[in-house]
Symmetry: C2
Subunit: 304 residues, 2 copies
């Protein structure tokens, strides 16, 4: 049984108040699969890159147990490229460049062996691509986790609603939750969104933590106060990867275990923002993760 990751593998060029990068490897599927690999090592990847993509990054993924047979390489085309600049508060950013390239007509092909998929995570992509992959799977996965973004909520709302109806868990940020539901109160928004399909909803609030909603239950996971948020790129994907990886590892999708998964997702995201791109994830050890989890437990211990 495997965890299947769909999403982009891309180049990013990032500018923050702390510095700027040339083209570095990014993309939702890169962050998700790297983060999940700390918990689960039967990982399959469906994505697409161009001939300009460095093979050594694929070797890194493989070395972490991530199968890349489903990663199409279009040798005569170019990899998806995004460039953005973060504002001083790190809570908002301007997109400077978006070159879709290979993502423009991405057809998510599914290697036969990926049909043992038990857990599926749909990283941020056009919702029609997300639903196509679900349709191509011979068996419905036990758990489908989905991410999306403001762009799809405003430009592909109907297709987004169709995909959402097929999912079990939606992970979005507070701004997206308000946009998707039309409600400012996150409590009200959570009910409207869960009526669209997913029984579980995670609302990420950046430095303010994350909320998990299910039936009448709410769980509030704090974010760790950090010296600096060096680069927020990929933090949401890293959260989703840690969250889903932990669920796959434990094979338990109860509310209690989902809460733990949110804590692990938050733990992984807190590392991601400490360096540019995937740099911190690539140097992280299991001991680092364990130590930081302990910090989260202490941070939220009410003392009762």
């Amino acid at each position: 049984m495997s965890l299947l990751v769909l999403g982009s593998v891309a180049f990013d060029a990032i500018e923050t108040p702390f510095g700027k990068t040339d083209k570095i490897v990014g993309g939702s599927a890169s962050y998700i699969s790297l983060s999940a690999s700390f918990f689960y090592n039967n990982l399959n990847l469906v994505s697409v890159v161009g001939g300009d993509f460095p093979t050594n990054f694929l070797n890194i993924l493989n070395s972490r147990g991530i199968d890349t047979q489903g990663l199409q390489i279009k040798h005569n085309e170019k990899t998806f490229f995004w460039s953005g600049k973060y504002h001083n508060d790190m809570n908002s950013r301007d997109t400077l460049i978006t070159e879709l390239n290979v993502l423009g007509d991405f057809d998510p092909l599914l290697p036969e062996k990926y049909n043992d998929c038990k857990y599926l995570i749909l990283g941020n992509l056009h919702p029609a691509v997300q639903s196509t992959l679900i349709e191509r799977l011979k068996n419905k996965p036990e758990l489908i986790v989905m991410d999306t973004m403001n762009f799809w909520i405003s430009t592909a709302k109907n297709q987004l609603r169709d995909t959402l109806a097929l999912t079990d868990v939606l992970i979005i940020n507070d701004e997206e939750a308000r946009q998707l539901s039309g409600e400012y109160s996150l409590l009200k928004a959570s009910r409207i969104i869960r009526n669209m399909g997913p029984q579980y909803l995670v609302i990420k609030k950046g430095e303010h933590g994350a909320l998990l909603f299910h039936k009448n239950e709410i769980f509030y996971c704090p974010a760790l106060p950090l010296e600096e948020v060096f680069d927020p790129t990929g933090a949401g994907d890293t959260f989703a990867g840690g969250f889903t990886g932990y669920l796959a590892k434990t094979g338990d999708t109860s509310f209690t275990n989902m809460k733990k998964a949110v804590v692990y997702g938050s733990t992984m995201a807190s590392f991601c923002v400490e360096k540019f791109g995937t740099e911190k994830l690539l140097e992280l050890t299991d001991d680092n993760v364990k130590e930081r989890l302990d910090l989260f437990l202490r941070l939220s211990d009410m003392g009762f």
Copy 2:
């Protein structure tokens, strides 16, 4: 041994997206003492009102065990009046009217019997008035808790620093912490501010909860997601009152007990915002408080 509350007792006129009020009773000391009275019943109040202030509100305070001998009534003057309008997101507001009236030359007189003060809470007022009260106490209280606001940080910074040096706990919001420290990162801000005097710092983040800092420890208390924030006026004071009232009740100022006090403060604040002004606090029962505390415990339970 008593808990001494210094602050304003005032009239507010409030406009929110949900409606508007005529002049209703407000002021930092009103919210603080009402909130603290759910935990501790040896409460003394130092404040000032004009001849226009309704005696029935003083009767309400007395009926909740709040001594008002230190509440000066200046019969030929008018009570402090503030009027404000909240924006749609409830996170920002415009001040429409500020009439200082009796607060303009407020001299905080201390009844002799108030010298048994063990715990002192300095509600939001000019920092020179706050420090005057400290000087007039025959014995230094065991714990001095202080609140302040952006206005004093920008207009009376030196006096604020002098008062701050005398306190044990400072309670401010995230914007004020950034303004006072000159640091965006709350972790960095917390160190700078604690170097100014208080060993404990609480940073309130409204709907995003509250942080408690002490030495190398951090505690993050979530806020309860609510259907609506009806009126945020007084929520910070209500937090401070619940926080200090619980510490006075338990007589324990350890970090572990301070964490519980933050949870009780958050619990009380979550009620305050549900109706206009002090309305919700006045109808609240001890059972309501207990039930809501349980919600907070469930909200932050990580499941490990």
